[in-house]
Subunit: 389 residues, 2 copies
């Protein structure tokens, strides 16, 4: 039940199957990578990369030198983040690095754990990642807007934000604060690149950049060498480094993206970000159109901004749609569940159940089915509102 069409793939989903848009599984990029053919193929022999060690020239001894090279080259080509003078720490996805950062920046000698905050709506994994083993070093303290303690804290700033796509800065802004920038979505397919960022601690992940979520490769750009060293120590205890196979494959893929992305608007079609931005823009156009047809839902609006990378005025096309039911009484997650679309409730993001987060990164058929079902939600509810009920 798979048919090829022009490099893309259409799978025929039964019209009554459950559509899972709860996770941000970035499978929409498959068509691009198919088109690239063998340019990203990796071949690894049985005797290669046996050792725990990747290099003796770097404090991060488990980081493959080729991956480091590709990461620096990609940020340079896109212009979204500075890498000069930064230590790169590789992780099993950026989730593991988030824990490495918590460990690295938390005071070791305090009787009470340091507070960890993020402005709501915040990424739903932050509370559980922070508190899973009830650390005595750090503790989730909720919405940064409500943080009023006069003591040190760690603030996660996700920009563009997950779930709502908004560009953000820190909100607490007090002495003794350590700000961690989660920039997973700061790539041209999702948002205008307005500057090359140079914060102290910046987290990125291949999952959202190129769609290679299965590889579990994230990286941190860290200005302070001592913080980087402590993160490396955490990684050694947590998993004695990171898969060499994934590192080598992602190294190749990032280099192909970096090489191909220098020509925006080229006829070759080998610019990954152009493919991604066009695909996202199209989906958002379709979604906005159907949402406009009714009074039931609203979507965030994003400002037009100059993107230094494309050279164009453009608005954001985020990886998630942050949908709000206009009817205040409505549980948005439940509403979609009734139509067999799994989405994530606003509650999970420290917000209210009138909101839900819907992945915009799924396969074409998942997105199309979602749009179809949205149409039927609207029709049904219009019937409820204007009919005999």
């Amino acid at each position: 039940d798979t048919k090829e069409n022009g490099g893309g793939v259409t799978r025929i989903l039964p019209s009554d199957s459950v559509i899972n848009l709860d996770h941000g599984d970035p499978t929409m990029y498959e068509a691009f990578w198919r088109k690239m053919g063998d340019r990203c193929t990796v071949v690894i022999k049985g005797y290669e990369h046996l050792s725990y060690f990747s290099t003796n020239k770097n404090p991060c001894w488990f980081l493959e030198p080729k991956l480091e090279e590709s990461i620096r080259s990609l940020h340079g080509a896109v212009g979204n983040a500075e890498t000069d003078g930064y230590t790169i720490v590789v992780g099993t996805g950026s989730s593991q690095l988030l824990q490495a950062v918590l460990y690295a920046v938390s005071p070791q000698d305090q009787p009470n754990p340091i507070s960890v905050v993020s402005a709501a709506p915040y990424y739903s994994s932050y509370p559980e990642t922070t508190d899973i083993v009830k650390s005595g070093l750090y503790k989730w303290a909720g919405d940064a807007h409500g943080f009023d303690k006069d003591e040190p804290y760690i603030e996660f700033v996700t920009s563009p934000n997950n779930p709502n796509g908004v560009i953000r800065g820190p909100v607490v802004n007090r002495a003794g604060g350590i700000v961690v920038h989660d920039l997973a979505y700061y790539w041209p397919q999702y948002t205008p690149i307005t500057s090359s960022i140079d914060f102290d601690i910046m987290l990125f992940t291949a999952s959202k950049c190129t769609g290679h979520a299965g590889s579990r490769i994230g990286w941190a750009l860290v200005k302070d060498k001592e913080v980087a060293k402590r993160m490396i120590s955490f990684m050694v205890v947590n998993s004695i480094g990171v898969s060499k196979e994934s590192q080598l494959r992602v190294a190749k893929i990032l280099q192909v993206v970096a090489d191909g992305c220098k020509r925006f608007g080229s006829p070759d079609g080998d610019n990954f970000f152009e493919f991604g931005r066009n695909a996202m823009a199209k989906r958002w156009e379709i979604l906005r159109e159907i949402v406009k047809k009714t009074q039931m839902f609203t979507l965030p609006k994003y400002p037009l901004q100059h993107c230094n990378y494309t050279g164009e005025l453009t608005q954001a096309h985020p990886a998630f749609a942050w949908i709000k039911c206009k009817d205040e009484m409505e549980d948005c997650e439940e509403l979609f569940k009734g139509h067999k679309v799994l989405v994530r409730s606003g509650r999970r993001f420290g917000s209210d159940p009138g909101y839900a987060r819907v992945s915009m990164m799924g396969k074409d058929d998942e997105f199309n089915q979602f749009i179809e079902r949205l149409t039927s939600v609207i029709q049904m509810c219009s019937g409820d509102h204007h009919g005999i009920n």
Copy 2:
């Protein structure tokens, strides 16, 4: 400075370079994997394995079905562990799984963390892995021999033991105890396989089984489905699963090992465990001979046992040599350091500095240099003992 010799590789190490036998980096198996040529080569295309998900037929949704198959097939072929009725949880090395186990079996509702113990000498990573983020769920409580509290506990049983190669069972043996079996070294190259083990929680790793430490693949065989589910939850929060590339490569390698290991003593030379056992046996013979020549060091003795896998009476040839200085005043780690051989002090294993752990899994040239330097340690010290001092 690399020359091939009959499938093996000899690198010329400068005679004054530092030999690092502190880590258990299992690079000695490289020659075998070279000999296997393309049988273990993996090829992964750019568009493959994008998704976080590997399967929807398994609670461990990030486990590649081929890896599960190979793991079951390998344990079946070797006869070292039962897999029927067990849930397999894959991890980024067995270190990550150890933390998943701690999370899964610790009570969530207690005011005080549960005690975690292991009989000294214990694997040096247990204390730091348990205590790194000062969890409120579990806490390192040291040598199991000294554990006398009348309360629940978790006991790590490493068998064969790291550092000393001894076959072990639990030592606390009290009600409310949860025993976790770390079986990283329970493979025929290291120890006689005397039974097919069926404990509740068993940990294994590709690193020590086949030497693919860079892949960071470990697996747990878990009898209780609820414990397995909680381990899976931990893995999702800690790293949202495990590298697909590593899983697929290790799946292929374990299958090649499983297929090749059915014929022990075959002339093909494609039995990995035969290669491994012969290589380890030869190294141990050389080491025992040189140690015997002097009164300076001792090595543990291992009983002759019937190995169900090889069908022979054999003794253990552990992955590490647990060396004891006979002179009680000697710091064994420092002694070797003076000869530019890095080893791990007995102190790190909850034992005393008269002991040191030395990796027996390094490259041929590292092992040979180690033996040469051991000769010079002995000569120098003999000089000290019998000369003008």
